[in-house]
């Protein structure tokens, strides 16, 4: 390497106690640094809600289905375009809202935790989209057919999962736990009132899908407008779900064979005083809405072969002109989806090799 330094005048040797004291000092400094790191990464705090622990709760409730998303694992890939009419361009500087077409990859799914759930297992459907703008920025959004979320915080959401966890003996949730949870969480009442009337739809294409969380649109001058958005279907005629296990994918393929399926993207502008940070609360009363354009879906692919499989529909992957609100669920979704994505991408080789073993909830 380099010439060693010539001998320099040595300081008088340290006494043994002095040497030990100095070594102990060094040890202490290293220990404090390592302890600070362990504190920050959550090792010292088993109660902390971390992304990994959120995903653990899903795996506990639903079992581990290698290679699949840890939530909404049963779904189908779709593709098409968003045809913007330019009406929202004054609200957001995002390219997607300028007049013109933006290519879209999407995924329609069943909001349960098991890839083998029957399609009627939940009276809900979900729609996730990835818009890719000409400038390479993307807008990803995961929407649900419910108008409001049951709870407003990540901790309450995890507690809800725990309250509905199957008992290992019976395979069913402890009947006492969900009522106790909902008694302690009055914020879930709007969701409960809605879900009472909700029925599993026979088709993905007749459903309305809602952002549920609020976002902020930012225009070219920096003006900020909180919004929620919805995809409102052109297709009508919500027929009751057939008495079968799997019908949604077949229905979708048939509908697409007959022609593209369309939804309007409706932005609902928050009024002053609307809760921006609480997805469990509806925005009541009159609201200005803007129809930003039409989502046109013209093809579908089974998810194991489709382009949507390896997309993490992280709701905080946003283009310039759309920002997340301070809704704590948005940050939690982003963090937990990343943990789910990390686990499932390490398992993709198991998706094809393993025959579909149908473990039903």
């Amino acid at each position: 390497m380099i010439d060693r330094e010539p001998p320099y005048p040595h300081k008088p040797p340290l006494s043994t106690p002095a040497k030990l004291a100095r070594l102990a000092g060094i040890g202490l400094i290293v220990l404090v640094a390592a302890g600070a790191f362990a504190y920050v990464n959550g090792s010292l705090d088993p109660q902390r809600l971390t992304p990994a622990r959120v995903v653990d709760v899903f795996e506990h409730n639903n079992g581990v289905h290698p290679g699949y998303r840890r939530n909404h694992p049963k779904g189908i890939c779709v593709a098409g375009d968003f045809e913007s009419n330019g009406a929202a361009a004054s609200l957001s500087r995002a390219e997607v809202f300028a007049s013109g077409r933006t290519p879209v990859i999407g995924r329609l799914a069943l909001p349960t935790g098991n890839p083998y759930s029957p399609d009627s297992a939940a009276p809900l459907r979900s729609f996730a989209l990835q818009f890719t703008q000409p400038n390479g920025q993307q807008w990803r959004t995961g929407m649900n057919s419910m108008p409001v979320f049951p709870v407003g915080t990540p901790q309450a959401f995890v507690d809800l999962q725990i309250a509905t966890a199957p008992d290992p003996k019976t395979g069913k949730p402890d009947p006492a736990k969900p009522p106790a949870f909902f008694a302690a969480h009055p914020e879930a009442q709007p969701f409960l009132a809605w879900v009472k009337t909700a029925k599993p739809s026979a088709s993905f294409v007749t459903e309305t899908y809602n952002s549920v969380n609020a976002f902020i649109l930012v225009d070219s001058s920096g003006k900020r407008q909180p919004v929620r958005w919805s995809l409102v279907p052109h297709a009508t005629g919500a027929s009751p779900a057939p008495d079968a296990k799997d019908y949604l994918d077949k229905d979708l393929t048939e509908k697409l064979a007959a022609g593209p399926q369309r939804w309007d993207l409706i932005l609902t502008l928050a009024n002053a005083g609307d809760p921006i940070n609480d997805a469990s609360k509806a925005w009541s009363g009159d609201h200005k809405t803007v129809n930003a354009g039409t989502l046109v879906i013209n093809g579908d692919t089974a998810q194991l072969d489709g382009d949507c499989r390896d997309i993490n529909f992280d709701p905080l992957i946003l283009p310039s002109g759309i920002e997340g609100s301070d809704d704590p669920l948005l940050a939690a979704r982003s963090a937990a989806y990343a943990a789910s994505y990390m686990r499932r991408t390490a398992e993709v080789d198991q998706l094809k090799s393993e025959p579909a073993q149908e473990k039903q909830p």
Binding site: D3, A33, V40, G42, N135, Q137, A331
Partner: protein
């Protein structure tokens, strides 16, 4: 041959301490963000990415500076095994300073995510989107971060050992400038 220098060049020392601060901050930011579901997760992530690219640019400058300035030699009486450990750990540190930002960048690319540094600056993808590539890079990023932190702790302990126990000039060569040289 000219007499060996006793201290690192001022620019080398500036880069060392600036990057020490940035890298340690980066490791804590990374550890904190993957352990959080709160808004802190997003806030730290938005800090982590531009800081990582800044470290990548600085380490390139630093390698150029290192190759073009004179480095003070280790004490002659340092046991060979310690001299070897010193040499190897510095290769590890330089390697990780270079590799970690590149792996982070490649990992976001492999996920098919736009590589955003802030709300409107986008870097190009450096690898094709592929789930298995992402999985490998994501784990490498995590394990190498732990290796990085352990190497820094060892580096810190060794520096203090030189300064407080051996009381040679190794720690001083990075702490101080020419004052020691001028006294001779």
């Amino acid at each position: 041959m000219s007499t060996p220098v006793k201290h690192f060049a001022p620019l080398a020392r500036l880069l060392h301490w600036l990057m020490a601060l940035m890298v340690i901050a980066m490791l804590f930011i990374g550890a904190g963000m993957v352990a959080s579901v709160s808004q802190r997760h997003e806030w730290l992530l938005n800090l982590h990415k531009p800081l990582g690219i800044a470290i990548l640019l600085l380490v390139i400058v630093r390698i150029i500076v290192r190759l073009n300035t004179r480095t003070p030699p280790l004490p002659v009486d340092l046991p060979a095994v310690q001299a070897l450990a010193a040499k190897l750990s510095h290769y590890v540190l330089y390697g990780l300073m270079l590799a970690m930002p590149l792996i982070g960048w490649a990992m976001i690319s492999a996920a098919g995510d736009p590589v955003m540094l802030g709300s409107s600056v986008r870097l190009p993808s450096i690898v094709a989107a592929d789930a298995q590539t992402f999985a490998v890079l994501r784990r490498a990023h995590e394990y190498l971060a732990y290796l990085f932190f352990l190497t820094i702790l060892t580096h810190l302990a060794a520096a203090l050992f030189h300064g407080w126990v051996r009381r040679d000039e190794v720690l001083d060569s990075m702490l101080r400038g020419k004052s020691g040289d001028s006294k001779r």
